[in-house]
Symmetry: C2
Subunit: 458 residues, 2 copies
């Protein structure tokens, strides 16, 4: 039904056969192309960890400019902005009673520091955030709250969304009840001794306290200790630096459109990373996939009608990049055909969600026809999010695509020291490039109007 009404609006391109042929050729070329691998290998080897506000973030900016130019992108731009940055200092934690044991922790972005020399307190352990939230005000005064709730492994990444408040809200809930520090089981599906960091929500008017993630085995050790019924005491020491106005940059390059260059498709990944790993899957992969897809299209004998712009956003983990980009490009927004971001690792794409009403358009049927060899399909449900860096544009009305990746293993490594190049399967990453390249080409070389299709579908 949607398809039928949408087809009334969508103008079938004169060269529908060409679209399909070229999209399939791009798909097959991408599967055998090493550009994405080369890009992420370069970024992880030559820059490594690059949190917002770090010297490496500035080196990453220069790397991005050089990489765009080397790969033949036009109109390469650096757009500076300022954002808040939390930078890790020294961190240590240990059980001091009843049985001394070292603990492996990583502070959360936004954590307070401990007093100089650290703090020591008794543990109050809860198996879930809900258990913590059931405690009355003041009930945890002077305690180190530990919450050991487990994350569920899912293909679509929804297990992360479900557990997210454990990291982002938990410290605030603990502080509200009088806790002096907060430790939680990492938002992770692995069983290594490596904790997984991440940002938390702003404290608002709640007193900031030290907050950190425990590795999975450390969280379980604390459960075993707590089960003995004796008081468990932890000593914690954490330092950090906060830059209220850290310099940051969104870097972009274009494959300029041959006929309607002002009509722009904006895609990309984020250039910043958390500090423990080398930012391979989060989000070197996304930067590499979208750059490689656009570069392959740029190598065609003739550029497609519309412009494809790849953006390497400069502060996703601690926020600010997407908001800065949307604000800077407000006037351009009506000409933005579509936005999309690759920020779920390097696992294969298995489902593509399109803007409401678009799936029935002939161009998107053409796209659906090139997907089967990639073992991916077009979703029944419409796209919604795109990614943190494009979402402010989506909120402002930009149509969005969700290329959903298999995230089954993504949260084994995400935000931990294990986010390294070896976790990327080159074949799976190439499958991503193939899906993006064929999709982007079809959108760029047609006049499909996602806004109109969505309006019609309402």
């Amino acid at each position: 039904m949607l398809a039928a009404s949408a087809s009334l609006l969508a103008v079938a391109p004169a060269h529908a056969g060409d679209l399909a042929t070229t999209a399939a050729a791009l798909r097959d070329k991408a599967l055998a192309d090493s550009t994405a691998w080369d890009v992420v290998e370069s970024l992880t080897t030559e820059i490594g960890p690059r949190p917002t506000g770090s010297p490496a973030a500035a080196r990453a900016r220069d790397w991005a400019v050089a990489k765009f130019k080397a790969l033949g992108f036009e109109n390469v731009k650096v757009e500076p902005f300022e954002t808040r940055s939390w930078l890790r200092g020294q961190e240590s934690a240990e059980v001091v009673a009843p049985y001394p044991q070292p603990l492996h922790i990583l502070g959360l972005g936004g954590s307070a520091q401990t007093p100089k020399g650290g703090l020591e307190a008794e543990v109050a352990l809860f198996k879930s955030l809900a258990e913590l939230q059931a405690q009355p005000p003041g009930a945890l005064t002077g305690k180190i709250v530990v919450v050991t709730e487990k994350m569920t492994r899912t293909m679509d990444g929804s297990g992360y969304g479900a557990i997210n408040p454990l990291r982002t809200l938990g410290p605030i809930e603990a502080s509200k009840r009088g806790a002096v520090a907060y430790l939680h089981r990492s938002l992770s599906t692995d069983d290594t001794r490596l904790p997984h960091t991440g940002a938390m929500r702003p404290w608002g008017d709640v007193k900031p306290i030290p907050a950190a993630a425990l590795s999975t085995p450390d969280a379980e050790l604390l459960e075993h200790l707590a089960a003995r019924g004796q008081p468990v005491r932890i000593k914690l020491s954490m330092t950090s630096t906060v830059l209220e106005k850290a310099p940051a940059w969104n870097v972009s390059g274009e494959i300029r459109g041959s006929e309607a260059p002002d009509e722009v498709i904006i895609i990309g990944g984020h250039l910043d990373s958390w500090d423990p790993g080398t930012g391979a899957i989060d989000d070197g992969a996304g930067v590499a996939i979208t750059t490689a897809a656009a570069k392959l299209i740029g190598e065609l004998p003739k550029h497609p009608r519309r412009t494809i712009r790849v953006v390497m956003w400069g502060s996703e983990e601690q926020g600010g990049a997407g908001e800065a980009y949307a604000a800077a490009h407000k006037d351009e927004l009506p000409k933005v055909v579509l936005v999309g971001e690759s920020d779920e690792g390097a696992g294969r794409i298995w489902k593509v969600a399109l803007p409401k009403g678009a799936a029935g358009a002939p161009q998107m049927k053409t796209f659906a026809s090139v997907l089967p060899p990639l073992k991916a399909f077009v979703a029944d449900d419409p796209s919604r999010f795109g990614g943190s860096d494009v979402f402010p544009m989506v909120m402002a009305g930009a149509p969005v695509v969700d290329m959903q990746q298999d995230a089954s293993r993504y949260f084994d490594w995400h935000h931990s020291a294990d986010d390294t190049l070896d976790k990327i399967d080159p074949g799976e990453m190439a499958q991503n490039v193939a899906a993006w390249a064929s999709f982007l080409y079809i959108v760029a070389d047609s006049d499909i109007d996602f806004r109109a299709l969505s309006a019609e579908a309402k």
Copy 2:
């Protein structure tokens, strides 16, 4: 043929049917028993890492005495000895050129310290130990040698033996050629950012240099850096303490024999561990498995004929425990029926190697008859090693059993921070206890003479 001749010597016990029935009952009881899990849970939770010479090693000694007594063992003994101990201090490493990146390392037991403030030098990278060994004397003067040879995953653990010289001999080979430090890819089959430590051979008359293991992703990062052809420089800082005569203890308990208590079966695991993990698979599991097996036998209405002694050896990782034990029990050796050690983790037993000539003895045929439900079998080849802590007794003539465990995943965690309780599958550990308990009972409640069987088989 061996079986035929062996059966001439072996005296079939009057109660062969009883042996089989009781062994099978023990096997089935062990599969449903949680003692081994409880023991390793207790050791890892209440003691944690316990390297030779550390305060935790002394706490582990007291834990062992208390545990033996609580489980009903008799004749609980602490036998002190002294051995050399290397204790880790502060360690850090980073690439400083051409691209700064932090590295994850763990010093090797026996490593020298760096000069105060650390050392910085250019890398000479080799893909194998053989490549390093092909370098002429002096060729690596002033260099930090990096060797990135990979370990092979095997079920029988032989991949570890094959790669072992990379850790134990590599530092010496590097120093001989003038290197100022040595880094090697961890002896590991995993891909986490956690390095795997271990001991190296004595330096002899070679100049000691700092030596450390890199995590797998760090070794690969250095390969990627080196492939660019620019000089790679690393800054390294390592401190450590050496105790030439660290106090250590072998702790033992017995299930005393009812008829021939002087005839002793000596089994066990080692109580010490490396420092990064909690010593769950290496070797809390072995301590737990052998203790649980003996304890189950001790609960029978009547103890078997011979004594079963469980020893928790006090310094396997850095050596000395087995030598001290063999020396202290030299006079007892002729009465030692059999020795064995569980020191390969908690993976299931899949093959049991018996002393030469023993497989055909009726008691061992009885043992073979209880194995099929455990999915294990008696090996064609005779036993050889037993374990580091019993090998000095084997060298002195003691018959030995090799209960070969599935080591497919053991080296993912071995000697790293990932050696934690969660890596143990309680069902697989119970299978170990079942095999040990049924075997020990048959040997202890018969008069099988392994020495005579082996002599006959020659």
